[in-house]
Symmetry: D2
Subunit: 332 residues, 4 copies
C-alpha cells in the first residue's frame, strides 16, 4: 500500500496517519522525492485501504502488492515523462533516439558526430568516459577531463549528455557535466550507488543486469525512487543465455511486460544487445514495434578504428538509414 501525503500536511496529521498504519500491523518507510511525499507501507494482513483514504492529510492511496511499489503502474497509471529542458523529452508520445560513441575519444570525434545527430532529430548524445571492463588491463575510459569537453560541445549544440557513472564518489564530480546519469548492467544491483542517485536532481537511466530479472530491474528503480528521485528511465540491453550466435540475447519480451508493470519510460540498447553491427537496425525496428519508448545506439565515424565496441557501432550512413526507417515506422 502506498499513501501519498498532501504537500502541506501538519505534523500532527502525519503522526496520526502513521499510528493508524502501525495499528493495522503494517511497517512503513517514509519517502520524500523532489516532487512529493509518500508512506510506503508493507504488511501481510488484508486491510481495507479506503479507511486510509479518509484520513486528514492523505492525498491518495493505492494497494500495490508487488515487491516494487512507487515505480508500479498500480500506483501511478499515467506515464512518467522525462523533461530535460530545451524541448527535449523522453516518453512524451514520440520515440527517442539516444546515440553516440561507446567511448568519447576526442573533441573532434564529438564535433563530427553532432551534425549527423542533429540532422536526424537526436537531442541526446551518449558517450562513456568511465568504462567498466572485465580486465584491469583493458582501456578504462578517458575520465573526467574528457567529460568536461564532451559536455561543452554538446551544450554548445543544444544537446543533452548521458554517460555512465560507476561509483558513488563520481556522482558529485560528474554532476555539472551530465544531463542523465547512466547505471550500467554490472552496477544494476549496486544498491549504494542507486540510493545515492536518488538524492540527485537529474534523471537516471538504469540498465537491466547481465542476468537480471525484470522484477529485479524494477526493484533497482525502486531504490532510486524511494531515495528521492522520480525521474527514471529503464533500459533493456540483453541478457546472458546459452546461445552463442550473438553477444547477448536482447530480450524484447521485456518491453510489453515493463510497459504494463511500470509508468517509467523503457528504452532499448540493441548495440550491446545483439552486439553485431549489421543486425542493430532490424533489432531497433523490432524494439520500436514491440512498444519501446526509444533506442540507445552506438555510432562511430570509423567503427573499424573505435577504441572499444567498434564491432557493434554503426557508421553515420548506417545510422541515418536506421533513423529514417524508425521515423517511418513510428509514424503509424
Amino acid at each position: 500500500m502506498i499513501i501519498q501525503l498532501k504537500d502541506k500536511i501538519a505534523d500532527f496529521d502525519k503522526q496520526s496517519i502513521e499510528s493508524v498504519i502501525q495499528n493495522a500491523g503494517y511497517q512503513f518507510t517514509e519517502v520524500k522525492t523532489q516532487q512529493k511525499s509518500y508512506l510506503v507501507c508493507i504488511g501481510k494482513k488484508e486491510i481495507d485501504i479506503r479507511k486510509f483514504g479518509l484520513l486528514k492529510g492523505v492525498e491518495d492511496v493505492h494497494r500495490v502488492n508487488e515487491d516494487y511499489k512507487l515505480v508500479s503502474r498500480k500506483w501511478k497509471v499515467k506515464n512518467t515523462v522525462i523533461d530535460l529542458g530545451d524541448g527535449i523529452t523522453i516518453n512524451n508520445g514520440s520515440k527517442t533516439i539516444i546515440a553516440g560513441p561507446c567511448s568519447v575519444e576526442s573533441d573532434e570525434q564529438i564535433r563530427g558526430m553532432v551534425e549527423v545527430l542533429k540532422r536526424n532529430g537526436v537531442g541526446i548524445i551518449r558517450g562513456g568516459v568511465f568504462k567498466p571492463r572485465s580486465s584491469p588491463y583493458s582501456f578504462q575510459g578517458f575520465g573526467l577531463d574528457v567529460l568536461k569537453q564532451f559536455y561543452a560541445v554538446a551544450k554548445e549544440n543544444g544537446m543533452k549528455v548521458i554517460t555512465e557513472v560507476m561509483q558513488l564518489s563520481q556522482v558529485e564530480q560528474m554532476y555539472p557535466y551530465v544531463d542523465i546519469f547512466q547505471v550500467g548492467a554490472r552496477n544494476s544491483q549496486n544498491f549504494n550507488l542507486l540510493s545515492a542517485l536518488g538524492k540527485v536532481d537529474k534523471p537516471v537511466l538504469i540498465k537491466r543486469g547481465i542476468s537480471g530479472s525484470i522484477d529485479e530491474l524494477l526493484q533497482s528503480a525502486e531504490y532510486v525512487f524511494s531515495s528521492g528521485n522520480e525521474r527514471l528511465i529503464l533500459c533493456e540491453r540483453g541478457i546472458r543465455t546459452y546461445e552463442r550466435a550473438y553477444r547477448n540475447t536482447l530480450d524484447l519480451n521485456a518491453i510489453p511486460i515493463l510497459k504494463e508493470k511500470t509508468h517509467l519510460p523503457v528504452i532499448v540498447d540493441p548495440s550491446h544487445g545483439i552486439g553485431i553491427r549489421r543486425f542493430v537496425e532490424p533489432m531497433s525496428l523490432a524494439a520500436i514495434a514491440a512498444g519501446a519508448d526509444g533506442l540507445m545506439i552506438e555510432i562511430h565515424n570509423e567503427p573499424e578504428k573505435a577504441i572499444s565496441d567498434g564491432f557493434q557501432s554503426l557508421n553515420f550512413e548506417e545510422f541515418e538509414s536506421l533513423a529514417r526507417k524508425m521515423r517511418l515506422l513510428s509514424g503509424h
Copy 2:
C-alpha cells in the same frame, strides 16, 4: 564444399568426380532431393574448388564451411519459396500468417474460425491433433479421425493445413491430411523423424528446440534436406532462460541471424514464445519488424474455454486487430 551435379550426368562422369574428391582427402555424402543431386564434401585440407567446377557433369560448386551445408545461404543465395498450390506461398515477398487453435476440438470450432481467417487473408490453418505433453495424464490430442475432419473443412474452404507429427509411424498415416508437417520443439533433434520427413514430398516446418541453438536448428534442417526434402520452414518459438516473467524468451535476435545464414523461410510463433495473450500482438509486430517471413498464431473462439493453451490464444477480435496492424506494418 557442395557440388551440384547436372540432372543427366553419366555414371562414368559421376565416378570420376567422386575419385577427384577422394584423392583430395575429402569424404562425401550423396544427396538426392526431389529436385536435384548433390555431393556434400567434408574435409579439412585447403583446396581450390575451381578445379571441381571444371569437371564434366558438375553444375555448380561452392565452399561452405559451416556444419550445415545445403541449407546455408553460402550454397544458395536466393530465398527458398514454399509453393503450397492454389496461390498460397511462403517467403514469396509478402508476410505469411498461419493461425488456428492449439488443439483441434471439433468440426464446428474449425468452421467458425475459417471465415475469420479468410477475411484476413490467411491461407494456412494450424491445429494440433497429436499433442506432446510433459505429463502422461494430460490431454494428448484427439488423433487421426479429427485430423481427417479438420483437413476436409480446410480443403472445402481452399485452405492449407499444418499440424504436428510426433513420431515416424504417424508420417504415413497423416500424409493424406496434411499440407505441411510440423516438427515440435521437443522433437527438434529427433533425427530419425527428421530423416523420415526428408523422404516426404510435402513441406516441413521445424521448430527450434526448447534450448536449441541457432546452429542446431540449421543442422536439424540439414537432416531433412540431406534426406531429400528441400521444402523447409524454420520457426523461432522461444528459448528457456532464467527469466520467469513470461513463458519462454522469444528470441527475435534469431531472425536476422537466420535470414543471413540460410535461404529458408523463417517464421515466428509468439503464442508459445512469450506465452501471454495480451503480449502476442506487440511481439508479432516486433517479429515482422525484425525481418521474419511470417507468424504462427494460436487463436480460439473462446480462449477461456480452450482445452489447451487458452492463456496464450487470441480471440477473433484480437486476432483481427493484429492482422490489420501487421498488414499496415508490412506495407512498407
Copy 3:
C-alpha cells in the same frame, strides 16, 4: 491420488472403485505394470483418501500432488532396486559403476576392456551403436551388427549391456541384445519412445534433457512407468547454461533433490557432464558424495584415437584410479 489394486481383484469390485472415483469428481488412468495394477487419479477437489482405502479390492492408497505420481516417493517410500540377474543390481546399497566406450568400435576393443572392468568390479558395460549427432554428416554409430557382437562378448564375460535406443522401430530389433535400454538427452521428451519402452520387460535408463528440468525428468519417467515398466533408472548428465569453461553444467544439485522426490535409482554421467577428461574423476567423487547411486563413465583404450568423445574418455589407468578412489569413498 494413487490407488493400488489387489492382484486378484474382481471386475465388479474394480468397477465399483472406479465409480467412487468418478463421483468424487476425479479422472483416472488405469496403469498395469509388469508387477502391479494402479488407478492414477487426478482432480482438484479436496478428498479424504481414507474412504478409498476401505473399498474392497484396494491394496493401498496415497495422496500424490506432484505432476509425477507413480515415480514419486510419496507413493513408494522404499528404493526401487534394479535386479539384472547374475547378482548384478543397481540401488541395492552399494554404488554401481557403468563404464565402456562412447561408441563400440570393434570386438577387440571390447575384449580388451572387459578385463579391466571385471578387475574393478564393474558388471555393466556401456557402448553406443546408434549415435544421435547434431550433424547428418557425422559418424552415426556402427549399428545392429556390432551390437550383436558387443552383446556376445559381454555375455561371455558375465556382463550386462546398456546402449542407447533412438527410435521406436529399434526397440524390437535391439531387444535380444540389450540388458538396459538407454534414452538419450535429446529423446528425453520423445513421449512415443518412452511409452513404447513401457511395454518392454527390461530396465530403462532415462537421461535428463539438455535443458530439462528435474520435474520434466520425473514426468518422462512417469510416461514409462504408467505404460507398464517400473524398472527405471534416472541419469543426470549436465544441463545447458551460459558458462563456456566446460561442456555442460553437471548439476549435482539434482541428486539430493531427486533422491528425495523419487524411489528410483539416480546415477550420474560426468563424462558428458563436465566433458573434460581430467575433471571426470573429481566430478565422479563429488557425485557419489552428493548421494548418487552410481556413475556412468566413458573409457577407451586410447582416448586420443577414439572415433567419438575421446576428449572426455578416461584411459584404463585413469579409470582404475577413479574406481579405487570411489571404493574408498563409498566405504563410509
Copy 4:
C-alpha cells in the same frame, strides 16, 4: 607475459627493462603488491621470453596468455596460502570451514554460536551487518555498531571474522573490525570496490557473480591483485539457470577448473547455492570431494526464527553432523 622484478632493483635497470618491453611492441602495467613488484605485459606479437629473463633486475618471467595474469597458475604454480595469524590458515593442506549466521542479530546469538564452532575446529566466523537486498524495503543489516560487538566477541574467543563490504566508503570504517573482507555476488564486478580492496592489507574473499563466468571471477580477482593485494580467496556460490527446483545451481564443475587455472584457494558456499537447508550437507560433502579447499556455511541457533535466510541455515545439530562427516571425508 609477467615479469617479476627483484626486490632491490635499480631505477636504471627498471627503465631499461621497460624499454625492451616497449621495443618488443608490448604495453605494460606496473603492479606493486604488498609482497612484490611485477610488470604485467600485454601484446600480440610472438616473443621469446627468455631474453627478458636475462635482463638485469628480473627475478622471474613467465608467459601467461589468459585475460587474467597474476592469479594464473601459469604464473605461480604453488598454492597461495592465506595466513590469518593465531594458527588459522586457508589452503594449507587441510579443509577450512567458515560458519556463522546470515545476519549478525545480537551479542547473545554470537556467544551461543562460538562454543559450537570452536568444538568443531572452526576458526573463522561469518556474519553479515550490511546486507545487499533486492528490495529497498527489506532488512538491510544492523550496521557498524553490531560489527564492532561481533568482532569483539570473536576476538575474545580467538576467532577470525569475515563479513561483506558493500561499498568503497565502508572499507575504512570496517577495517579495524574485519579479518577477511567479503565481496558479494552482486558486487563481483564492482571494479572500483575491487581496486580499493587491492590497497588493503587484509585478505579478500570474492564471490562469483550471479551469472558470472569462471573467467570473469578470475579477472575480478586480477583487479584486486593488480591493485596490490595478493591474499585472495575465490568462492563458488551458485549460478542462475532455468532450473527452479532449488535456489541457485551450485556449480561444482567450477572447482576442479578453478583449481587448475589459479593458485588461489577456492571455497564453496552451499547455503546460498542450493539454498535448501536439508540439502546443504550432501552438497558440502560433494564440494569437498570435488576438491574445494573449504566451505562457507550459514548456521543459526533457531533457523525458523532467523531474520534472513533461515530456510537455508543449519541448526547446531545439523552443523555438527556436517562437520563430523567432512572431517571423515577429508581424512583420506
